[in-house]
């Protein structure tokens, strides 16, 4: 299992007031994202646990892109990966932020 962790400074906090949310399932080609509003407003962290080792660079890019688009300040997003492709990862990260910002999927 590989553990990856990325911290980013962000411009804005994620809106809304929900403290936590969960999206996705740990199945083949899928992933779950647990999002918790536990960090200072200007910070974001993405922790990843994956059995597919050696894709650190791709994860770094996906996470950086996500942080740039969504500015998820205050959020810690924890991922259990079931071997998802980058586009699925991006989708789930976006869903996770939407879920904790109070919108329905």
């Amino acid at each position: 299992m590989e553990h990856l962790s990325y911290r980013h400074a962000v411009r804005r906090r994620a809106t809304g007031s929900k403290r936590k949310a969960l999206v996705g399932v740990v199945a083949s080609g899928n992933l779950e994202v647990l999002v918790e509003r536990v960090l200072p407003d200007y910070m974001c962290e993405v922790d990843i646990r994956t059995a597919a080792a050696g894709f650190g660079e791709i994860w770094r890019l996906v996470v950086a892109d996500f942080v740039e688009r969504r500015s998820p300040g205050g959020l810690k997003l924890s991922i259990n990966d079931g071997g998802a492709r980058p586009d699925m990862v991006s989708l789930r990260l976006a869903q996770a932020v939407r879920a904790v910002e109070g919108g329905h999927l």
Binding site: M1, K20, L22, V25, V26, A27, N30, E32, L34, E36, R49, T50, A51, S78, N80, D81, G82, H104
Partner: protein, 306 residues
């Protein structure tokens, strides 16, 4: 259900996640989870196999309201490790049932979606199932209805099917399957002549929801929607039989009679014909309403068994 019910409430039960089923089944915003994913109580046994973990270990337990009445609820995520029972997964359900036994006033809903025991934790999973079965019986002895719902992708196999057999009542949909040994296991052990696991029609005739409803393995047949399962759950809670010697004796008699009537049948079609169906081969294609009407018509007088 309320007028601004979420989109998932009309969707397929089969396609829904365990969380979506729980939220759709219970009254809006009434669900309170016990040891939710944020507690990160995951399996300690999967890392040996380099397998990914899930924060809730594939089992959601908690309480909520069903038409304003408190219920305890457990739901398996069939897409994580095939919904199989592991140590933590099983222990959550065990604890829930023991609480139900001592609280006495809240029914339990178990949303099955399982291939049986998780092989990577085989001994722990097997024992968890035995503990759960004992806890189901103790809860029922305390007067608590324990209702099983079966309609997910993994079906209700192996030890899961034994737990279902201990429940007060079971509702199953067309997509549901209930069996101790899975089709592949029977074929591997006994050959393709005995059971062709790739013959989907055979699998569904033998273990699928329609057959289980007809032969009595399930008390109700639900449509593949959340509202249909909700309705079934409500009704089965109401008519749950007590657990006593009379119930067990009735169950013994019911099962003895089943062997007498159908023990020589080669296939489900023969069973259905024997029950009085005039076009048994057409049953698999019947739509929901027609099948429910047929099943009600063919049903033996209500039994006091289970």
């Amino acid at each position: 259900m309320n007028s601004d019910a979420p989109w998932w409430s009309a969707h397929s039960w089969f396609g829904a996640s365990a969380r979506e089923r729980v939220r759709g089944l219970l009254d809006a915003d009434s669900f309170e989870e016990f040891i939710g994913p944020e507690h990160r109580e995951m399996s300690p046994h999967l890392r040996v196999f380099d397998l990914p973990e899930q924060f809730d270990d594939g089992m959601i337990v908690g309480r909520g309201l069903l038409d304003n009445a408190p219920v305890l609820i457990a739901a398996q995520e069939g897409r994580f490790m095939g919904g199989a029972f592991g140590e933590v997964h099983g222990a959550k359900l065990t604890g829930l049932l023991r609480a139900a036994r001592d609280i006495r006033s809240m029914p339990v809903l178990i949303l099955f979606d399982t291939g049986g025991v998780r092989l990577q934790e085989a001994n722990a999973g097997e024992l968890a199932i035995a503990e759960i079965m004992r806890a189901v019986i103790e809860a029922r002895l305390a007067g608590v209805p324990v209702v099983g719902l079966v309609g997910g992708r993994a079906g209700c196999y192996g030890g899961g099917s034994l737990i279902a057999g201990c429940c007060s009542a079971v509702a199953v949909s067309e997509q549901g399957r209930i069996s101790v040994s899975g089709p592949e296991v029977i074929e591997t052990n006994r050959g393709v002549e005995e059971f062709d696991s790739k013959d989907r029609a055979l699998v569904w005739r033998t273990m699928g929801g329609k057959h289980r409803r007809l032969i009595g393995g399930a008390e109700m047949y639900a449509d593949d929607t959340v509202p249909s399962f909700r309705d079934a759950a409500r009704r089965l809670i109401e008519r749950a039989p007590p657990m006593n010697v009379a119930t067990l004796a009735a169950e013994q008699y019911r099962l003895v009679r089943r062997i007498e009537r159908f023990g020589a049948c080669a296939d489900a079609v023969d069973v259905w014909r024997s029950m009085g169906a005039t076009e048994p081969q057409a049953i698999p294609a019947l739509a929901y309403q027609e099948f429910v009407a047929l099943a009600d018509r063919l049903e033996e007088p209500a039994h006091e068994a289970r």
